[in-house]
Amino acid sequence: MAAMGASGEKITVSGFRHYFRTDGGRVQATGLVDLAIQPGEFVTLVGPSGCGKTTLLKAIAGFITPSEGTILCDGRPVRGPGRDRGVVFQELAILPWRTVRRNIGHGLEIARVPKAERERQVARLIDLMGLAGFEDRYPHELSGGMKQRVAVARTWAAEPEIILMDEPFAAVDAMTRLTLQEELARLCATTRKTVFFITHSVEEAVFLADRVLVMTRRPGTIKAELVVPRHGTGGRDWDSFTADAEMRGIAEQVMHLVHAERVG
């Protein structure tokens, strides 16, 4: 699917395959994966649980070294995590002993960004993510949705070019999830990042994506990709998305592809 190291690609995964060592021996976590993501593209990956989606994301993030294959970001091989690739996790990643403000500014603090510039950047994200009034709260004083807003804001504040999201809204209640998805769509429309987003929700995958990838069950390989056309420059919203027959058609197609991979 992806040409090895083709120029201009933001993320290039070629010949990737991963195994885990366990007490019972070697377990194959993913099948053969080839993948290319263009700059500014929002790619979602949907697949059954345990198919190896997270393993692929962790390899791109640099948290694990692939058993086979190479991963390039901007044509350079990935060797460990770095500031160029921000990660948003499903849960438990913002620090409970830091206020909202200090969590969001953490990446900038690490990068030794001067305080005034840091404050300005943090204030902008607090505004964008609807966190105004909560700046000095601690995470345990926030709802699940609010915590994820903080996690998203922290990643965006550090201004990575690539953002990797591992089911970031899976632990949030359904109503809040709709809001967060719309906010993310708006945020991406204004900031143009390259995003690789993992989910097991078909609607979420189609709603957010420029391109949806469907993974098979374990050991997962990418079995299909669908382009989701964009109309206009703003982010999508659920009202117009659900009213759009073309979108419903794509979601239905993805649903059929995912259904075929049901386990048990």
Binding site: R83, G107, I110
Partner: protein, 262 residues
Amino acid sequence: MRRRLRSFGGLLRNVRVLLPFIVLIAIWWGIKSGFGVSDRLLVAPPAVWSSFVTLVSHGILAEYASTSLQLIGIAALVSFAAGVPIGFAVGANRYAARSLEGFLRFFQGISGIAWLPLAILWFGFTHTTTLAIVIYTLIVPIIFNTMVGVRAIPENYVLALRSLGASRLRIVRDVYLPGALPSIVVGTRLGMGYGWRALIASEMLVRQGGLGDLIFGARTFNQIDRIMVGMIVIGCLYIVVDRLLVQPVETMTLARWGVLRR
């Protein structure tokens, strides 16, 4: 008027805390006078009080108590300074943590007192023996809880910081230290409780001063009043140390960061 009301509320709270003690003293006094128990076995509260006054006025109590407090102070400082780094080193290393967990549990089972025979043979009847016993008792819960605290920090905290470009030192400072702090405080608090008991026991055998020495020495002359004064002071000093030093730190860290452990 208002201030008076508030102090009345404070008084009520104090009564609630003191009530069990008052009941205990009443029962003690009742048994003593009701059954006519001999002074060789039990003395009445007023006798204990007058013994207390004598011990204080001659400076004897201050002498023995300050020895105990100094010993526990030194032991606490040494245990904290050595135990926290050791706990960190073990906790941060998955393999070390796994292999040392059983080892530490094994020594949790061997109380400080069980080391006394060996310690006396090695260091003689000296403060060194007592310090060795108390440090041993204090340091194990500190190491163990620091280790547990470090191990309980969710991996995502560390991964998230690494992808924000944090160095190893930065991760220790921003994640491991604050993350393990509540557990370190709990370990220290437990250690102080165990250490204080081990201290008194060791002093009774070593006989070089301290409240343990005071009460064990009093036994030789059947000074039941003095033994009871010593015991009451041992209990009171522990409450003072725990309430004034350790508990406030625990409340501060836990209340500010919310409940860390799910």
